[in-house]
């Protein structure tokens, strides 16, 4: 007997994504970046902190591919270790805001009525505070509440907490809208009528159906958070030394822009390429999941 290949929604989307060359190249690029970041100890040619006083501020060359900084540290290695921090911040804060946003949005959308309008009013208020202002306020608050932590760890955790808190509003809005839509569907009515409890309807029936748009939002949230983190670190409020992310590396380079421009350009370019890849992949995913585009 000939086996019928499944033509599920996921398979369909996957096939459409594979056809999108830009998205595939972006995905491969991002995988390489994440791989290098995760196995930085093996991949990086030099140690993260190894200083060599005889080789400070070298231009890119055979020995140090991207040159060295003012303390004689290899820039390529620092960028690889910086990727660890930038990617970790981007991915974990997005996941945290995803969890918060999905729970909040699902509750708001599922119960509706007064609960919904109260919960959404709160979201509206959060929405009017500029993200960066909210971010900085949360970080300030966190910094003064977690007094027992080391200052450098405090800045690190503060950045994580602040970015997670800022990102969830968008996701909550999206999930609420989707849940409101799905609630009208017949399969939900069927589930309700056979007595499936609310949380099971949400987790087993509605959530898998709205996973597409959620994944797309996540792919756009990660680069936004990476960018935000580098902004914060660049203006001196985010990650503190000895930790390094692409933002702090760029901030280091900014101080010696005139004489040694390569120090700011290389972390900037790798950040740019990663942002580009995330955006292209996000676009590809959106097109792949978009029901309007389906034939």
């Amino acid at each position: 007997m000939k086996k019928q290949k499944s033509k599920s929604l996921w398979y369909d989307s996957w096939r459409r994504l594979k056809k999108n060359k830009a998205a595939v190249v972006s995905a491969v690029f991002l995988m390489i970046v994440c791989f290098c970041a995760y196995f930085a100890d093996w991949v990086a040619p030099y140690s993260f902190e190894a200083q060599d006083a005889s080789k400070i501020l070298l231009s890119p060359g055979a020995e140090h591919w991207l040159g060295t900084d003012s303390l004689g540290r290899d820039l390529l290695s620092r960028i690889i270790y910086g990727a660890q921090m930038s990617m970790a911040v981007g991915i974990f804060t997005s996941l945290a805001s995803l969890v918060m946003g999905v729970i909040y949005g699902a509750i708001s959308g599922w119960f509706g009525g007064r609960v919904d309008s109260f919960m959404m009013r709160f979201i509206d208020i959060l929405y009017t505070i500029p993200a960066l202002v909210l971010l900085i306020l949360v970080m300030v608050l966190f910094n003064s509440l977690a007094t027992e932590l080391d200052p450098k760890d405090k800045a690190l955790y503060g950045t994580f907490v602040a970015l997670s808190i800022v990102g969830w509003v968008n996701i909550a809005r999206l999930v609420r809208g989707q849940v409101l839509q799905e609630k009208q569907m017949l399969y939900v009515e069927a589930a309700v009528s056979i007595g499936v409890p609310s949380y099971q309807i949400l987790t087993r029936h509605i959530l898998p159906n709205i996973l597409g748009p959620i994944i797309v939002t996540l792919t756009f949230q990660i680069p936004a958070n990476v960018m935000f983190e580098s902004f914060l670190s660049f203006i001196g409020l985010g990650i503190q030394p000895p930790y390094a992310s692409w933002g702090t590396l760029a901030a280091d380079g900014w101080r010696s822009l005139r004489t040694y421009p390569h120090i700011i350009i290389s972390p900037g370019v790798i950040l740019f390429l990663s942002m580009l890849a995330f955006n292209l992949l996000g676009d590809g995913l959106r097109d792949a999941f978009d029901p309007k585009a389906r034939k």
């Binding site: 009017t128 300030v140 203006i235 760029a250």
Partner: protein
């Protein structure tokens, strides 16, 4: 149509102001233009409130906006006062008597509720208190000194974003699936992905160090404006371009466009008068969030180009624990955002009569 007339009046006065600013023109005529612009905006608001159809909706929006501001003021106040560590915990320990005097001066010895009442009362009077760090200077002073620079930077960037983004997006949408479309969209997606701390330094390297054409920093004459405005405006321009493109693609297949084509109108008339005009509504909706985007971006840009604006003060006030300044700047940013959203609502009514009638 009164609304349209007032709108065009405001628009022309705004353009006049920009012209005066860029040509560094001074004199009573500048004050007149500023005054007319403000007058026009207020007239637009009043018209909206009293025009029969919109009044209820618009009043509701106004009330909502002031409620949001009140909530933000309260939250920032609570957040900052609940934090351990006072603004006067510096490296050098102050004698207790001196500390008590300072705290008495700023009402820090009073209970929270009383501090809050003091604060709200002053706020209503437009008094944001005195800065803790810059002794003897009021927050209102510091803000009013730095905000014109930030507003100018933001407005010019927004203008650049529209002037660059809309044509680019329209081009891409009209020539869908051609080389034009692909290259325009590649530019747009790059613009979204470019961090401003890469664009800014690259511009400085090229135009200052290599070509020696533009000054690398400060905010004194229109020559100084160019690089910060480009750096800040690039990202919003890219966002607008993508939005315009998808909106044009949505509109271009509508029946009225087919009718217009069937009437034998030229391609450019169809594009500009029929397609683009109807595609701009989502773009206008986006300008509220765009203002927030520009506000956030201005922190980095002001740092890179040493623009004496609000961003610098905000970052410094946070590290200095200068409570009144933090509160003032936060409130102001929120107010700007709320105001931007209100103006977007006003523009809605001008652009799309359907919205005016249905609400």
């Amino acid at each position: 149509m009164h609304l349209k007339k007032i709108f065009y009046f405001v628009l022309s006065m705004g353009l006049l102001m920009i012209f005066f600013d860029l040509s560094e023109f001074e004199g009573p005529i500048v004050d007149f233009a500023n005054f007319s612009f403000a007058f026009g905006i207020i007239a637009l608001f009043i018209y909206q409130v009293f025009a029969k159809k919109m009044s209820y909706y618009f009043l509701k929006r106004l009330m909502g906006a002031s409620f949001v501001l009140f909530i933000i003021a309260t939250t920032t106040f609570l957040m900052l006062r609940l934090m351990p560590g006072g603004p006067f915990d510096s490296d050098k320990a102050l004698p207790p008597e001196v500390l008590a005097n300072i705290e008495a001066k700023y009402h820090l010895d009073k209970p929270m509720i009383e501090q809050y009442v003091f604060y709200l009362g002053d706020l209503v009077k437009g008094d944001l208190g005195e800065s803790y760090k810059y002794i003897g200077r009021s927050v209102t002073d510091i803000i009013s000194e730095s905000i014109p620079n930030s507003i100018k930077l933001g407005l010019y960037s927004l203008l650049l974003a529209f002037l660059l983004g809309i044509p680019l997006g329209a081009l891409a949408g009209a020539k869908h699936n051609t080389v034009w479309d692909t290259s325009a969209m590649f530019m747009a997606i790059s613009g979204v992905a470019l961090p401003s701390f890469l664009v800014g330094p690259l511009l400085i390297l090229f135009f200052t160090f290599y070509l020696d054409l533009l000054p690398p920093a400060l905010w004194e004459s229109p020559v100084h404006y160019i690089m910060p405005v480009v750096t800040l405006g690039l990202r919003p321009a890219a966002i607008i371009a993508r939005l315009t493109r998808s909106s044009v693609l949505d509109t271009i297949h509508s029946d009225f466009v087919r009718t217009a084509k069937a009437k034998g109108l030229s391609a450019s008339v169809v594009l500009f008068k029929h397609v683009l005009k109807n595609s701009l509504i989502p773009v206008v909706t986006m300008s509220g969030p765009l203002v927030a985007n520009i506000l956030s971006g201005s922190f980095v840009v002001e740092l890179i180009f040493a623009v004496p604006g609000m961003g610098k003060h905000f970052v410094q006030s946070v590290t200095n624990r200068d409570y009144p300044l933090i509160l003032g700047v936060t409130l102001l940013y929120a107010a700007l955002l709320v105001l931007a959203n209100l103006i977007v609502d006003l523009l809605y009514a001008v652009i799309d009569p359907r919205i005016r009638l249905s609400n």
